[in-house]
Amino acid sequence: MPILLRGIAINIELLFALLAVGLLVGTVVALLQVYGGRVLGTVAAGYAWVFRGIPAMVLLFLFYFGPSQFGLDVPPFLAATLALGFRSSAYQSQIFRGALQAIPQGQMMAARSLGMSRVRAIVSIIIPQALRLSLAGWSNEFSSVAKDTTLAYVVGLNEVLRQARIIQDRHYDLAMLAYIAVALLFLILTYSGNFGLGALERRLRIPGLSAREGGG
């Protein structure tokens, strides 16, 4: 059992690392897609399409084994973080983009009419609202990605699934139990994640504002 716990700790580390990458890159991509003009916008959209369309497995292999062809040795954790992180950024960018586009035009107009520059308006008015609107979709992404961390198994990361395999190799008859234990650990992980994000959403909620309306 302790082995499994050590394993899941790695999964959690990976989860937060890749979510961070995903958030950073995803936000940039979303902003580019909505505000970047035609060329940048299309590039951003293209990036999102490519990184959503390629299976996570393929990305993991490309990031882990690919560089070895050129003599670079990429540690599994880094490869997984980058591969899954960029993939998540593509999904997160779409969530954020939807939120940005859901904000009524009037908000930008009002900001500009006060004399705010476009950048200032985006930073002070649009983004704070978009972040709140994104929480629901982001919650889904969190669950989804938490489970995907197990895919790093194929690049040899010492995460929980690999630990389960090790148990299976040593104690054949405990195999099923080991896997069930892993499953339960993930159930706990996803539930607490959802719970935490739900609480965050409640805390950040603007009184009276539902996800649809844009306050007049």
Binding site: V50, G53, I54, P55, A56, M57, V58, L59, F61, L62, F65, G66, S68, Q69, Q94, G98, S143, K147, D148, T149, T150, L151, Y153, V154, L161, A164, R165, Q168, Y172, D173, L174, A175, M176, A178, Y179, I180, V182, A183, F186, L187, T190, Y191
Partner: protein, 222 residues
């Protein structure tokens, strides 16, 4: 540093296997998903809870864990399944859970008045469900199910880890011989993207064919 055209043969066969697996598991998923959804919405208390537990388990745990559980775990309980069967089962059971949830949402989105109207015309509950609720629910659920299909196409790649020679498995086999990782996997990525593109377009056509004027599916595919 090139790509040997000879590799296209095995990759092509892998592609076909990928499609076979995806198609099969989707069918399993749809059939089982419908059963689960109906159980959840219309079954009695016990059935509903049972279905709910199943759904929560398969949605809350990683797909890869489910696959390995079936392929490596079950044998320790005396049940051994072939790689192909394990793959289909894992993917199918998993997608069934998601599809059940989507269908449940769709069924509940069909207005309550429809059921009342059907009953008042004299239909039994079963008839009402079969002829009135489900046809509408199915149309509402198409975007979500299309999404699931694409997702399954991509996730089918995990079956290589139980020795199946799908697109991913074939690729792995090739590179284990000659280490041309980048080229091969870039081509594989391109294959998947092409598949995703084609299937997305086909699904869009399907959606349009089946649409009822005025009855909105609230997700117009972005």
């Amino acid at each position: 540093m090139g790509f040997d055209p000879a590799w296209l043969g095995p990759l092509g066969r892998g592609l076909i296997l990928t499609l076979e697996i995806t198609a099969t598991c989707i069918v399993v998923g749809i059939v089982f998903g419908i059963i689960l959804a109906l159980g959840r919405v219309y079954g009695g208390r016990a059935v509903s809870i049972l279905c709910s537990l199943y759904i929560q388990f398969f949605r809350g745990t990683p797909l890869l864990v489910q696959l390995l559980m079936i392929y490596y775990g079950l044998p320790s309980w005396g049940i051994t399944l072939s790689p192909f069967l394990s793959g289909i089962l894992a993917l199918g059971l998993n997608t069934a859970a998601y599809q059940a949830e989507y269908l449940r949402g769709a069924i509940q989105a069909v207005e309550a008045g429809q059921l009342l109207a059907a009953r008042s015309v004299g239909m039994t509950k079963l008839q009402a469900i079969r002829h009135i609720i489900l046809p509408q629910a199915f149309r509402l659920v198409i975007p979500s199910w299309s999404n699931e299909l694409i997702l399954m196409l991509k996730y089918s790649s995990i079956v290589f880890s139980v020795t199946l020679l799908d697109l991913m498995g074939a690729a792995k086999r090739i590179v284990s011989a000659n280490f041309a990782y980048t080229q091969v996997f870039l081509v594989v990525a391109a294959f998947y993207l092409a598949l995703v593109f084609i299937i997305t377009q086909l699904l869009r056509l399907l959606e349009r064919r089946v649409r009822i004027p005025g009855l909105g599916t609230n997700a117009e595919r972005p």
